[in-house]
């Protein structure tokens, strides 16, 4: 018996995405196309070449030549930006979708957890859903029988076990769903971001359960955006970037590299950033952070002024727009939101290009790394949303005059405050 649990060799996955829409077509072309297309598609279907009703010309590589090995009992984190191929990798390893090239070998029983509560049916009771969901996740009936009480206890739904789950609160529903999944006992476990659901207490419980699983000597592949969870669970981490393995090694150094590379330098050119959504009529072309002397930087000091410059281009001649900026800390927690709607500011006469500046007079963030997501709205419609438009570090603090800062684990955002005291000993 070899000690390899997963071997991935030159794995690639190509997706077809729809062709970009042509701008102008005559009615005649459109009509002719409408008549001919169904036959062309039917022909393709019968030849077994169909890959969907969309035209097939545009393709992207979600994974490109990925190779790595996982030893039995290893717990590995997989990190990367949105669209880096993490979920595609897990989907291939769980056999949900096929690779386009390369292969993977899996030695042992696989359980994959890409979502909790898959296959739950609202009309069925908690008890019935445990059996159904268990079977869907690959548990044998005898196994579910054996673990039934444990699952119910973990989910804390004893009283409602014979109530249809449609009457459950969303918290109960999630707890039950996770409880079933958590009692899956395969040799190899593939987990995708399931901890990102539920309230803080529930997440803590899930994380605890994941730690148990990791310590039982099972092989785990754990995809997450939550860097502290990855650091807590996984000794080794693989960083994916644009479908390729960018880094593979001890978690601490991989996470550091990932965070450092999220954006380099003070200015971020965003023109070609693929990681964005929105209709694109008005879009962000660049963003930068300025310190109190109006110099571009990525290092800021808490308690001092800072500005965020957002450069936009307006293709649709929009007059007014609203812009929102959400600042996230290294745990992915939104620390604050700066929104033109909140301050009542409105952009009049946008023009074809321009710069919007958001000024924070007294930066209240504790020491750490921060990410800024920027969204532009015109008439309530999302024009552009760039999740990681900017990154900056807060290196030191003068927020409190003595230069002290609260410990990060007690503080996401600093607040000016005063204390006062009187004695109440009246006798």
């Amino acid at each position: 018996m070899s000690d390899i649990a997963i071997r991935v060799e030159h794995l690639s996955k190509q997706y077809h995405i729809g062709r970009k829409q042509e701008k102008y077509r005559t009615l005649r072309d459109t009509l002719a196309e409408a008549f001919v297309a169904p036959f062309r598609r039917a022909g393709r279907l019968l030849r077994g070449q169909a890959t969907g009703a969309a035209e097939l010309s545009e393709t992207i590589w979600a994974l490109r030549d990925v190779s790595f090995e996982v030893k039995r009992g290893e717990v590995i984190g997989i990190i990367g930006r949105n669209g880096a191929g993490k979920s595609t990798l897990l989907k291939i390893l769980s056999r949900i979708t096929e690779p386009t090239e390369g292969y993977a070998e899996i030695h042992g029983r696989v359980g994959s957890l890409l979502e909790v509560g898959t296959g739950f049916h609202n009309e069925l009771t908690g008890r019935e859903n445990i059996y159904l969901n268990g079977a869907i996740l690959g548990m044998k009936r005898a196994e579910i029988d054996r673990k039934f009480d444990e699952i119910v206890a973990f989910a804390e739904v004893e009283k409602f076990i014979d109530t249809p789950v449609k009457h459950y609160s969303s918290g109960m529903y999630l707890r039950l769903a996770f409880a079933v999944a958590a009692h899956l006992e395969p040799e190899i476990l593939l987990v995708d971001e399931v901890l990102a659901v539920g309230d803080a207490a529930f997440q803590k419980k899930c994380l605890g359960k994941m730690e148990d699983v990791a310590q039982e000597g099972r092989t785990v592949l754990f995809v997450s955006h939550n860097m502290s969870a990855v650091q807590a669970l996984c000794p080794r981490t693989i960083l994916l970037r644009q479908g390729q393995v960018a880094l593979d090694g001890p978690t601490e150094s991989v996470v550091r590299e990932y965070l450092a590379n999220l954006t380099e330098g003070a200015e971020q050119a965003l023109e070609d950033n693929p990681e964005r959504t929105g209709s694109g009529g008005v879009y962000l072309t660049a963003a930068r952070v300025l310190d109190e002397t109006h110099q571009p930087t990525r290092h800021l000091i808490a308690g001092r002024p800072a500005s965020f410059e957002l450069h936009y281009r307006n293709l649709i001649g929009a007059k007014r727009a609203n812009v929102a900026m959400t600042i996230y800390n290294h745990l992915g927690i939104a620390v604050t939101n700066c929104d033109t709607v909140l301050t009542g500011f409105s952009v009049e006469e946008m023009g074809p290009e321009g710069i919007l500046t958001c000024h924070i007079p007294n930066l209240p963030f504790p020491i750490g790394q921060y990410y800024v997501a920027v969204a532009i709205y015109v008439n309530g419609k999302q024009m552009d949303l760039v999740p990681n438009a900017l990154v900056f570090d807060v290196d030191s603090s003068t927020f409190f005059k003595n230069g002290r800062t609260p410990k990060v684990r007690y503080c996401a955002c600093m607040v000016s405050h005063q204390w006062q005291h009187e004695t109440t000993n009246h006798r």
């Binding site: 018996m1 997706y15 169904p38 598609r41 279907l45 077994g48 169909a50 890959t51 969907g52 009703a53 989907k91 291939i92 390893l93 769980s94 056999r95 949900i96 979708t97 096929e98 690779p99 386009t100 090239e101 390369g102 292969y103 993977a104 070998e105 899996i106 030695h107 042992g108 029983r109 696989v110 994959s112 890409l114 979502e115 898959t118 296959g119 049916h121 009309e123 069925l124 008890r127 019935e128 059996y131 159904l132 079977a135 869907i136 996740l137 690959g138 044998k140 009936r141 005898a142 029988d145 040799e187």
Partner: protein, 294 residues
């Protein structure tokens, strides 16, 4: 329900544990026609069972009449047919009272058409499952068609009642009945495999299924007997529609219609098997794109 789950535990435990063997799965792109992997499907039989059980449990939830719907559909079709075809058009019925003549055909027909309707949408309806969990996808349409057996049994009880009322005693031929039910199941599943796999890529299928069932209803000797075709060769050829074999088989087995359907049934069985096998291969071939496209 769950008590019965508990009872099977002991049997499961008797099965030899194969935990020490390490199964190796190789994941790679498949090309061309792929194997049906029936063995894997067998290993997932418990999931199949749970999917059938879910369908049956959920089907008539939040309906006023509940399982009565399984009877209402074929029964009222029978009433309408008896009125228009039996009374007004004076359709011949092989010497059997027309209501029971048509109802004996409508019971397996309802099973077939219901299975076809639901199974052809089953993959699209299970999109979330397909995108998030691996299991043999064949289990989905198979479970949907199988769950119709419960409805069939309910409608069949009414058929037995009608036979009692009309004083019809089945002959020894009734032993063949399970075979004809199986034939209906195979036909329904065979067509559903084709349609459900196509439906993943082309939602047009959803709109064609009602047409198909409607045409098929009149192409099957339900409102009329196949003995209207006098030429024995042509009549045998009629078996190319597998539902002809099913319907004539039901009448022969239950009502003792003296129409000796042997050749028709033979042709029907061959066609049904061909549909099933070709459907299964087509399904497996398209399966690789399901999760990406559905």
């Amino acid at each position: 329900m769950l008590k019965s789950l508990g009872r099977r535990t002991a049997a499961d435990m008797l099965m030899p544990s194969r935990a020490d063997e390490v199964p190796v799965i190789r994941i790679e792109p498949s090309r061309g026609w792929v194997s049906l992997k029936l063995r894997e499907l067998w290993e997932y039989r418990e999931l199949l069972y749970f999917l059938v059980w879910r369908d049956v449990k959920v089907r008539y939830k939040q309906t006023v009449l509940g399982a009565a719907w399984a009877i209402i559909q074929p029964f009222f079709t029978m009433v309408v047919f008896s009125l228009f075809f039996g009374k007004l058009a004076k359709m011949p019925s092989d010497g059997i009272p027309y209501p029971i003549f048509s109802y004996a055909a409508l019971v397996p027909w309802s099973f077939f058409s219901r299975g076809l309707n639901q199974a052809s949408n089953s993959l699209v309806g299970s999109a979330r499952l397909i995108k998030k969990v691996y299991f043999p996808r064949l289990a989905i349409p198979i479970a949907t068609v199988l769950s119709g057996v419960v409805d069939f049994l309910l409608a069949f009880l009414v058929l037995l009642g009608m036979m009692l009322a009309y004083g019809i005693v089945p002959t020894i031929n009734v032993l063949w009945l399970p075979f004809f039910l199986l034939l209906a199941l195979i036909t329904s599943l065979g067509v559903s495999l084709w349609l459900s796999a196509m439906n993943v890529q082309f939602r047009d299928v959803r709109y064609t299924v009602p047409f198909i069932t409607q045409f098929w209803l009149f192409a099957t000797p339900i409102a009329y007997p196949s003995s209207l075709i006098e030429n024995p060769w042509l009549r045998t050829l009629y078996g190319i529609n597998p539902m002809t074999g099913v319907v004539e088989g039901f009448r022969w087995a239950l009502l003792g219609a003296n129409t000796a359907p042997g050749p028709i049934v033979a042709v029907s069985s061959l066609v049904a098997l061909a549909l099933l096998v070709s459907g299964a291969y087509y399904f497996r071939r398209m399966e690789r794109t399901f999760a990406d496209v559905v």
